[in-house]
Structure formats: structure tokens, C-alpha cells
Amino acid sequence: MKYILQTKNLVKSFGGVHAIDHLSINIVEGQITGLVGPNGSGKTTLINVLSGFFPHDSGEIIFSGVNRNKILSWENQIYNITRTFQQIRLFEQMTVLDNILVVLTERSPIYSLFERHTQYHLKCAEDILRKIGLHEKLSHRASDLSYGQRKLLEIGRVLAMNAEIILFDEPFAGLFPETVKKIEEIIQNLKQEGKSIVLVEHNMAIIRKLCDHLIVMDAGKLLAEGHPEKVLSEKIVLEAYLGE
């Protein structure tokens, strides 16, 4: 088993709040790792820190054996990592197609000046939009989509990044069953393609169904980890949830 992502004694505080408190976890390559914990236990903060959204205070973050002291978010492409946002963050006044294309096209400012998008980019974008069922909405503005479609477009951008490590922050929250099913399939397909996935989710049925490994956080700390069935039957885990 190869660790594709590790944290060691990771700390992140906001004022007096220890959102992440000396957290050490290992993410195994090619698996779906569930990340659960009560509200405010630091799951989103962990994803924010891992994706360079804001810097951590101390501790180590190791990607495929490379220790990254300072995570700059634009380097996510180099380190092959991407994420979704729990609070959806689309490029609202741009079209659905452009929301995907911007993730596919040239990153260098000079080269991008001389590129619109190639046929190849357009085909990739259309394939992705078909996969998430938004192909007919291609020229609509992101802001005109329904909540469920917006969640799907977040997933679409992740697919466009084609990263090796994908961090999903509550991708199923508030969705109708058919959309949940669609996203489940997408995540399972990603696993089949060999991607390493971290999945934050509250619904234990989904966790049991999708995850190979489960990490439970509470108050920024690691509470338990291991096989989902086993972890979910542990007493401290049950207490953390019931005591909420």
C-alpha cells in the first residue's frame, strides 16, 4: 500500500479555535477514504489546507513522498490534486461550458492569449457535460442552474482537472436520490480509473457503500480510523455523534 497523501501533526487554528489539532493521517493510493465527524470538527478546514486555500500553522503535508512546507493553490495542478467546495463556488456569470473549459485550457498567460480552445478541449468539455447530465445547459449561466445542477457542475470541474487526488467536500449534501446515484457512479468510476479520493460525507449508508477506509475526526483531532464497518461500530465514534 502506497500513501499518496499524508499529514503529520498538522495544526490550523483560527484565533483560539483549533480547527485542526495535531492531525496525522494517511491516504492510500487508489482508494476512497471517507472523512466523517460532527459539524465543526475540521473536515472542510483540512480540505482547505490541503488544497492551499489557506496556509497551515505547523506540521507536515506530504504528497507522494514529497514534503510540501508551503502549499500554493495554483500548484495543485503540478501536484495533481483537486477539490470541490462544500459552499458551491462556481464562476457564476460564465456559461456552464466556460466553467468547464477554463479548467481544461492553457494555464500560461502568454500562451492562453493566443488560444481559444482546441477541438480537443471542446470535445472533452462536452463529454464531461454529458457525463454529469448538463449538456443541454451548456450555454446557460452557472447562476441560472438549480442547486443540484450546481453541485454537478462542481463535480464537472473536478473531472476536467483529471487530477490523481480528489477531495470531495460533501458532494451529496441536499441532493435528490437520482442525483446522489449519478454522483456515486462518477466517484466509483474515478476509483476504477485509479484515482485516490477523499470523501467528506454525513450519510453513513453512502460511506459504507463507497469507502475502503474511514477516518473519523472530532474537534480537529483523529478519533478513529480503519475499515468503515469496524470504525462505525466503535463506541467512541457513536458517542461523538450522539453527544453532538
Binding site: G52, W74, E75, Q77, F91, D98, V102, V103, E115, H117
Partner: protein, 288 residues
């Protein structure tokens, strides 16, 4: 007829300036209030190089954008860490420094006396001395700037600028070094504004520091907000309306001094009115 040519020339010059401002503010969402400074840099480069070094205005049409662009590159790089209102204040500071320099660096700028006797453009022995010939020159430059602006808008670069306007932090997550994009469009915007400055200096033949104050920057803001941000047609309509509306007051019979005073009020009122009631502008599709 001369009067109509005069209006067309002004609309072309402000069309150029407004398109440049739109690239920075409408496309990339950068609240730059330094538009008048790069416009002024263009005008001063033309005036100084033409009157002191005897270069032709056509030559300065190439030199001024380069100088303005280089200055923008340095300024933009040092402002890179500022966002939104801080960026706006920083660019306002730069504009005020520019105003102070033009007022006080007398050897170069003649200070408050200004620079008179700026020549008309001349190429292959042809002098653009008649208003009609100047109409063609300014429309020609307006068309070039419109094409450049459209090409940028339609490129992947333009799409990334829009994404920066929408959510810069989210775009970074997808691997974009957004500060480079912002610096580049700030530089391009400055270079294009300088073209407007050269045209203006050569058309009016006299410039002084009072022509390039924050009032001019606000006028550019008003043009793109009224016409419609992020839309070439809208921006050009904004330039047209904001030049024509104050001129109409003259026809209604207001004396020239009153028109001069009312002009600023009209610009300010239009800006506030549109931001409150129609933030997308007349033809626009985006808001800040």
C-alpha cells in the same frame, strides 16, 4: 460640420480609453482608478518626445504604449497583493503621484503651464491637420483597439480573466497563477490607454496636468458602467452617450461655463444611478 468631426474624434479617443478600462475592470474585475494616469502618460510622452526631441507623433504612437506598459508592469507588480478596495486605493495613489509629478517636474513637463505646440501626426509627408483627416486616424485606432480587445475577450486568456472576476481564489485552486493574469491585463490596458493619450495630445495640441485627474478616471468608469461592462458594444455606447449628453446641454442653451460644471455632476449622477438601478448597464450582461 467641424463640430461633428470634433465630437467623433472625442468619442473615438474615449472609446479607446473606455475599452482599455473595460479590459481591466469589466473583464478582470480589477477596480483600477488609474485609467487617467496611463492616458496622461501617453499624452505626455507624445508631447515631450514631439516638442523636445522632435520625434513624429506617429513614432510616439509606438513609444507611448511601451513606456506606459512598462510603468504599469512595475506598478502592477508592486500592487499585486492588494485586492478590491485596497487595489482601488493603491491605483488612486498612483494617479495622484502622477498628477504631482506632472505639476512639479518642470524641466520635463513645464509644470502647471503645460506643453503647447504639440504637432499633428505626419506620415510619408501627409499631415493629419484637417479635422476630417484626424477623424479617420482616430477611427482607425479605435478599430484597432476594438479588434485587440475582442481578440483578448475571445481567447482562453479572456476566459481566465472572467473567472478571476467571478472568483479568483477558486480559479487558483484549478492551477492558475492569477496574479500573472492580472498583471498582464493591467499592462495591456495601460498600453492601450496611452494610445488614446497620444491622439488626444496631438489633437488638442496643448496639454496640462489638470487634464488627467481622477475626474477622467471616473468618467471612464461611468462610460463602462452606463454602457455595459464586458460588452464591446456596450462600452462604445457608453463612450458615445457620455460625450454627447453634456454637449446637448450646450444646444439647450446653457452657457459654456455651466456646461463644464454640470458635466462632472452628470457623470457622477449617471454612475450612481446605474450602479443602484441597473448595474449591468444598458447593453451589458455582467455586473461587478
Amino acid at each position: 460640420m467641424e463640430y461633428i468631426f470634433h465630437i467623433i474624434i472625442l468619442i473615438s479617443i474615449y472609446g479607446i480609453l473606455a475599452l482599455a478600462q473595460n479590459l481591466v475592470m469589466g473583464e478582470a474585475g480589477l477596480l483600477a482608478i488609474s485609467g487617467a494616469a496611463f492616458y496622461g502618460i501617453g499624452a505626455y510622452v507624445a508631447a515631450i518626445f514631439a516638442t523636445k526631441l522632435g520625434l513624429s507623433i506617429i513614432t510616439t504612437l509606438f513609444i507611448a504604449p511601451i513606456i506606459a506598459g512598462l510603468i504599469a508592469l512595475v506598478i502592477g507588480a508592486s500592487f499585486a497583493r492588494f485586492r478590491d478596495d485596497y487595489f482601488m486605493l493603491a491605483t488612486l495613489g498612483f494617479l495622484m503621484i502622477f498628477n504631482t509629478v506632472t505639476k512639479n517636474w518642470e524641466i520635463l513637463t513645464n509644470g502647471s503651464y503645460g506643453i503647447p505646440g504639440i504637432p499633428k501626426p505626419q506620415i510619408f509627408g501627409f499631415i493629419f491637420s484637417t479635422p476630417l483627416s484626424f477623424v479617420f486616424l482616430s477611427l482607425f485606432l479605435l478599430i484597432i483597439v476594438t479588434i485587440v480587445s475582442e481578440l483578448i475577450k475571445r481567447s482562453s486568456f479572456g476566459r481566465a480573466l472572467n473567472a478571476i472576476r467571478e472568483d479568483e481564489d477558486a480559479l487558483k485552486i484549478f492551477g492558475y497563477q492569477t496574479s500573472r493574469y492580472k498583471l498582464m491585463i493591467f499592462t495591456i490596458g495601460a498600453a492601450l490607454s496611452a494610445l488614446g493619450g497620444v491622439l488626444f495630445a496631438s489633437y488638442i495640441t496643448f496639454i496640462d496636468p489638470n487634464l488627467f485627474t481622477v475626474n477622467e478616471s471616473i468618467l471612464l468608469w461611468a462610460m463602462i458602467v452606463v454602457g455595459g461592462m464586458g460588452q464591446t458594444r456596450g462600452v462604445l455606447l457608453g463612450a458615445l452617450l457620455l460625450i454627447i449628453i453634456p454637449e446637448m446641454l450646450r444646444f439647450v442653451g446653457f452657457p459654456t461655463e455651466v456646461v463644464g460644471l454640470m458635466r462632472q455632476c452628470i457623470y457622477g449622477l449617471l454612475l450612481v444611478f446605474f450602479m443602484l438601478y441597473r448595474p449591468k448597464g444598458i447593453l451589458g450582461i455582467y455586473k461587478l
